[in-house]
Amino acid sequence: MTDTSSDWPSDWLRATLGFLALRALAAGPSYGYAIIGDLETHGFGTIKGGTLYPLLTRYETAGLVVTEWRAGDGGPGRKYFALTDHGREELARLSEHWQSFADTSIRYLDPERPSKETQT
């Protein structure tokens, strides 16, 4: 986990949380708290339920995830979210696009890049 997690601008998280949440489900079905924990462990800070659940609900409506309630062992029941085939395709597509965008941004931000090429 990185120490910079809580410093990410909220705009960045808003833009990326969708496919990050899909990625958190790539290994198999998971539930709200575990998804939040996974994102926190990987350096994205603590995502609030009020941010995550509306996103997952929209994905369920869009057919990217399906849900299933499972009774807890002595604890609360848990709502598990699982990727559908459509969700996996969308995750792959968005990951590829993000990779391309991030590469483009990194190249552009490179201080070694000759600045003249932007001038006309």
Partner: protein
């Protein structure tokens, strides 16, 4: 998890906001259970985890009934029953005194006021639920229109616009109220018609026992019951 008092208020408001959006009971139960699950896991308060109940409810894209479905299902029968009750009361007063049912235009307009107030409910339902003063204003308006309609009621046939035989109106209004109560009772007994809030793990989160069923029957029959009370009242003071 046992909800704190603050969380209970938050969840009450959350359910109310989802109801105002016409979200189905099963979807409300699911959203409530999801929120409770996360609170149990994190130990956070509902406000801390989800922000305001109103904003959180608005951010969820949950399955809901067509926007004005409740108008057809509940509002129109209520409005027609209310009109029948108002006419019944006026006709009952005349009938118990063996007099004609005298009607003036001003009286009819004042009698129609509560009906219009109910008819316009879709326009201000959210305000009605969120602000007590709106309820007070409407109750006072309905009370005043009732009082004024009694004051402007014609006392002689010469002053009246219409002089009617009260008995057919009494019978007609009674038939309308009883028929609508039967329709609403039959409709509410259909499986799934009450749109209960269902806990996705099994138990209903609302009381669907004898008390709730009795309350539902009373709600469906409130207009015929009120009509009987009014008939008794005017008979007593004739």
């Amino acid at each position: 998890m046992i909800s704190t008092g603050t969380d209970k208020k938050w969840f009450d408001e959350f359910v109310l906001e989802l109801r105002l959006q016409q979200v189905y009971g099963s979807a409300i139960g699911d959203a409530v259970a999801s929120a409770r699950e996360l609170l149990a896991d994190t130990g956070q308060s509902a406000q801390e985890a989800f922000g305001s109940a109103r904003d959180y409810a608005a951010s969820l894209d949950l399955p809901r009934a067509p926007r004005f479905e409740w108008v057809r299902q509940a509002l129109w029968p209520t409005m027609v029953s209310l009109l029948a009750l108002l006419l019944f009361t006026q006709a009952a007063a005349a009938w118990t005194q063996s007099e004609p049912f005298l009607v003036s235009p001003a009286q009819l307009i004042l009698l129609a006021a509560p009906v219009f107030i109910v008819a316009a409910l879709p326009l201000y339902l959210a305000a009605l639920v969120r602000h007590v003063w709106v309820v007070v204003v409407l109750v006072v308006a309905c009370g005043l229109s009732g009082l004024l309609s009694s004051i402007v009621a014609p006392t002689t046939a010469a002053d009246a616009w219409l002089a009617l035989d009260p008995l057919p109106w009494l019978i007609g209004c009674s038939v309308v109220m009883v028929a609508l109560a039967i329709v609403q009772t039959v409709r509410s007994r259909r499986p799934g018609s009450n749109d209960e809030i269902i806990n996705p793990l099994g138990d209903p989160t609302v009381d669907s026992g004898r008390g709730a069923r009795l309350a539902l029957v009373l709600t469906n029959w409130i207009f015929p019951v009120l009509a009987l009370v009014m008939l008794g009242f005017v008979s007593l003071f004739r």
